[in-house]
Amino acid sequence: MTNHDDVNCIDKSDLELADFLVETLVDVCDCVPTSMQKVYYNPAMLAASAMLLPNFLRVCLLLKKYALHFSMVLAKNFFPSLAQRGTAVIKDVWGDISGKIFVAVDVLALISNVAIGISAITDYFVSPALAPVGANICYSTHATFGVMYKPVVVSFFGAVVSVFDVVYWNNIELKPLALRRAMGHADHPANPSVDQNYIVSLCMAIVAAMYVAWASVSMTFLPLAVPFFVVVLVFGGCIPLFAIFGMSEMLSRAESALDKKFIIEGAKEKVDKSLLVKAILVQLISTVVLLASTSSFY
């Protein structure tokens, strides 16, 4: 630990393996405050979670499908009236509870997340406990790593997901019906996931502005994609392709085989396409942060 203008600085030997983002900051900055240890999430872990989530949900849906099928078969044989009631309840679940409650919760969460996110980002840049000292490359790295600051990840990622849902919905909504069907978006919902009013629009504008600002700062590290081309290709291309689409294809085949074996008729389980695109978005952000973690190469 060294001292720099009355601020305790991190010594590289004090850091754990998991703190590799802080290690990069130590490499490119003159002084990184000791309070910055363990303040970042690991981008690789975040990307892996985002990649595996759609297929994890798909597995859950499949388990539900088969569990429901077998419980209905048992119920029809032993408790016919209960089976009828069960199917009626399950059919009514989505119809009866109007999405209004969920929309209200989402809007409330979006506003809260944006407020907390702005506060956290301001604190991240203003607080002396989180401000490293160094040249421009140090500030760029610090700003790029901002998306992995723990309070920002939880709050702003939630807000980005909500905004992304609306943007994606609008994007599909504007397409003609025939094109939508051809693209496999025939089950596009009638309403967006959150209401479109002034407050929500303002929140969306703030989130979009923050995202653009972050993207423009992280452009500093774009040239690093050339020497680390293999890393970007594997981490940003091959692994997501396998984890998202490869596993999805494997699950589809497994579902077809199981449906044939157990003679189950009906639609196949699908996860929302926007979830797949969101996973790619998180993957993209994580790849950029990983690329920025090699900034000491400059």
């Binding site: 393996l17 590799f20 309840v89 679940v93 604190d123 723990k150 309070p151 939880v154 939630g158 890393v231």
Partner: protein, 198 residues
């Protein structure tokens, strides 16, 4: 590449442990987690609550009762609460009754099965005993003879009654024929009656 090295060393404590953030950061982190938890809890709780059918056991009634609570009159409030409580009680009692009936019928079935099995055994034993008696040919034959004698006497009595009835029928038939012949000779139409009298 420390980043790639880390990818293969998943640190649970670092990922899920509470981070050592500055005070304000810790508050922000806690708030952000609370919002996320609230969002997930409301969505999943409501979905699970309705999907499990728990709403049919009194909650709908409670919701209706609460809906009526919005009315300003005190009487309505009291009535709504009372109705809601009564309906909930009804649901609870009905469910309890249903369970009790199911249990009772199950026990009854078991008891009936046991009794039937026992009765069947007793019946088979008796049949075996009577078969043995028939082979001996003592009590059963005499009983049969007695019964046959009684049946014969009944048949004789019935035959006599039938003969009496037959004779009665013959007498009535002759009477009927006489009435018919008289009717044949009688005037057939109103015109003939007119001619006879006027």
């Amino acid at each position: 590449m420390r980043a790639l090295q880390y990818d293969f060393a998943f640190n649970v404590e670092f990922t899920f442990g509470w981070p050592k953030l500055p005070q304000l950061g810790a508050i922000q982190f806690a708030l952000a987690l609370s919002v996320l938890a609230f969002q997930l809890f409301v969505k999943f709780f409501i979905r699970l609550y309705y999907a499990s059918g728990a709403n049919t056991f009194g909650s709908t009634a409670l919701y209706n009762a609460l809906g009526q609570l919005k009315k300003s009159k005190m009487e309505d409030i009291v009535r709504a609460n009372f109705n809601g409580a009564i309906i909930i009680l009804h649901y609870v009692l009905t469910t309890a009754l249903y369970v009790a009936i199911k249990m009772d019928s199950f026990v009854l079935k078991l008891t009936a099965n046991r009794k039937f099995n026992r009765a069947e055994k007793v019946y088979i034993n008796k049949r075996e005993e009577s078969a043995l008696r028939l082979i001996e040919g003592v009590e059963e034959t005499t009983l049969f003879q007695k019964e046959a004698h009684e049946v014969n006497s009944i048949i004789v009595r019935l035959n006599a009654e039938v003969d009496g009835l037959h004779k009665k029928l013959q007498r009535e038939t002759t009477k009927l024929i006489a009435i018919q012949s008289k009717l044949a000779k009688a005037p057939k139409t109103i015109l003939e009656l007119d001619r006879m009298h006027f």
